[in-house]
């Protein structure tokens, strides 16, 4: 199920995120730290699943990569595309003309809200085809049908307005739109909400197929089954930080995640224990000084008063190891940000 892993020393990754941070300025001078110091690489042909508790900053991370943050946001760090374009500092013109849709595609969360309400799905599809794929007028209808087909969007609903779509239909429409640009990097923010299992599988398979060998996919999802189905690696976010990056096989396999939070997340699945992680996530406007998970963690001790760095420790899989990226040894392949990570063999979760 795992895709091909990029060989070490391969050309620059499709996306390389370095210390990306986003915060929102709020009233009274406070800040909401939505993303803090994210660092990871995404190679061509690879699919990275980004999971984490609701509100931990996944969508904000995606928005930051597309330069679509609201105006009260501030960013830091860098997010480099394969050719060195820094998505965080590129000017709007570059982003609009060459990046969005063309080099970085997005399946937005809340697709219904992201469709223009006064135009039919068909017209929005055709327009995108015309602009991004250069399809000429006579071929538009067929191309639109084909694009809809890819995302399992029923052709009979093409002439509907967004408000006339069910949640799942809107989701599929959004996916269809995002696939048109054939972007080398695709950000899919919850592309399967509102879909039934069969459609989820079809959709993620299509995404995987789309990625193939030369594109990369950042799959933001709550649907761990979907992540398991197509992801090569899994990144776990908690309270604005990436707390673990692991190969999917390890994460979902016997070894299991190493961060206590990630383990809790898996355990909460209905097919497993279906119990929430105790306690509540911290408010991003007032993050605790040390490890943000400490308050909910049964392993916490005094050491957790400092923020743990994302360290590789022992490479857990064949994933593109830290060695290849030199200066920032742990950011790319796998790692966990925990003072007391779980060792694999000990506590592998059983469904």
């Amino acid at each position: 199920m795992t895709g091909p892993v990029p060989p070490a020393g391969a050309p620059a990754p499709a996306l390389s995120v370095r210390g990306l941070s986003v915060r929102f300025r709020m009233h009274g001078g406070t800040h909401v730290a939505a993303v803090t110091d994210a660092r990871f690489d995404l190679a061509a042909g690879e699919c990275l699943a980004l999971v984490g508790e609701s509100g931990c900053g996944k969508s904000v991370l995606a928005s930051a990569l597309l330069g679509l943050l609201p105006e009260n946001a501030e960013t830091a760090g860098a997010a480099l595309l394969g050719d060195g374009t820094d998505l965080l500092t590129a000017d709007e013109r570059t982003l609009a003309r060459t990046v969005r849709g063309r080099r970085v595609g997005l399946v937005p969360q809340s697709p219904a809200a992201h469709l223009t309400p006064v135009r039919t799905v068909r017209s929005q599809l055709e327009e995108t085809l015309r602009e991004l794929a250069g399809v000429r007028r006579p071929d538009l209808r067929k191309a639109a049908a084909a694009a809809a087909e890819r995302a399992s969007f029923p052709l009979g609903h093409l002439d509907r307005y967004p408000h006339e779509l069910s949640g799942g239909l809107a989701q599929r429409a959004a996916t269809a739109l995002a696939l048109i640009g054939d972007a080398p990097l695709l950000l899919a923010d919850e592309p399967t909400t509102g879909l039934d299992r069969e459609l989820v599988d079809r959709t993620v398979d299509e995404l995987r197929r789309h990625v193939g060998d030369d594109r990369a996919l950042l799959l933001i999802t709550h649907d761990l089954a979907a992540a398991e189905r197509i992801a090569d690696r899994v990144a776990v976010m908690y309270a604005s930080r990436v707390v673990e990056i692991a190969a999917a096989d390890d994460f979902f396999g016997d070894a299991g995640p190493r961060h206590p939070y990630a383990r809790g997340l898996l355990n909460a699945l209905p097919e497993r224990e279906f119990t929430p992680i105790p306690g509540m996530p911290p408010e991003l406007s007032a993050l605790p000084g040390g490890c943000a998970f400490a308050a909910r963690c049964d392993r916490a001790d005094a050491a957790c008063g400092t923020v743990p760095a994302l360290t590789g420790g022992v490479p857990l899989s064949t994933g593109a190891g830290g060695a290849s990226t030199g200066a920032v040894p742990v950011s790319a392949g796998a790692g966990v940000a925990c003072h007391h990570p779980v060792t694999a063999a000990l506590e592998a979760p059983r469904a």
Binding site: F24, V51, G52, E53, S54, G55, S59, V60, P70, Q109, S110, A112, A113, S152, P154, L155, G156, H157, E164, L165, S166, G167, G168, L169, Q171, R172, E190, T193, G194, L195, D196, R197, E198, L199, V200, H222, L224, G264, L265, L266, A268, L269, P270, E271, F274, T275, P276, I277, M280, P281, E283, S285, A286
Partner: protein, 233 residues
């Protein structure tokens, strides 16, 4: 008893989405409704919550057939249903803060006095911090917004809960937490639940009974071929 009897509903009289569907939820019972995407589950949920007038058929609440929908339904009828909508972004007034969104039903029904007590209590239950409560919908994540929407649905202590894909945009832990919140409430109040979703595993784990969409059609509500639904391309 919430009975949906041979309901036909949709957005175009000539081509209804929901055809001849029947379903019953007993008080205190939790029913999960499974169905493919786009088959009409949300529509049915809206009919059941008295928000959408069916073309044919009857909704019977506690033995009394419903005659008015939306504003025409008597207020206590309407508020007997707590609804969590599928798309939190669209179902939250963008001008109100989360706290106001939760408090709104109390205010609308003249129970503003309860606000200072109920809202923080519910916020705690669904896991919304004070900081988030002061923000407006576009300043929070979808999941956080959905928590507020659940709190809004519960604030009037409804006798029937209708959760339309409540957890679709939630992570596993939050899903588990919110399901726990609903179950706790049901245990305390004896409310009936109609949970709409796609996730068979989840619904089977959550609900006492799950039904498939295609089982609902036909007068008996047991058998009968489903009308060709859009997902069937």
């Amino acid at each position: 008893m919430l009975e949906l009897r041979s309901l036909t509903a949709g957005y175009d009289r000539r081509d209804p989405v929901v055809r001849d569907v029947s379903l019953t939820v007993a008080p205190g019972e939790s029913v999960g409704l499974l169905g493919p995407s786009g088959c009409g589950k949300s529509t049915l949920a809206r009919v059941a919550a008295l928000l959408h007038r069916p073309d044919r058929g009857q909704v019977v609440v506690d033995g009394e057939p419903v005659h008015g929908w939306r504003h025409r339904a008597p207020r206590d009828r309407r508020t007997a249903f707590g609804v969590v909508f599928q798309q939190p972004r669209l179902s939250a007034d963008p001008r109100l803060s989360l706290a106001q969104i939760v408090a709104e039903p109390l205010r609308a029904t003249g129970r503003a006095a309860d606000v200072p007590e109920r809202v923080p209590e519910l916020a705690r239950t669904v896991g919304l911090g004070a900081d988030l409560l002061g923000r407006r919908p576009h300043e929070v994540s979808d999941g956080q917004l959905q928590r507020a929407c659940l709190a809004r649905a519960l604030v009037l202590r409804p006798r029937w809960l209708i959760c339309d894909e409540m957890t679709a945009m939630l992570d596993a832990s939050t899903t588990a937490a919110l399901v726990a919140v609903v179950e706790e409430y049901r245990a305390a109040s004896g409310a009936g639940l109609l949970a709409v979703g796609h996730d068979r595993v989840l619904l089977e784990r959550w609900c006492e009974r799950t039904v498939e969409w295609r089982e609902l059609t036909g007068a008996t509500g047991a058998t009968g071929g489903s009308a060709a639904h859009p997902a069937a391309e």
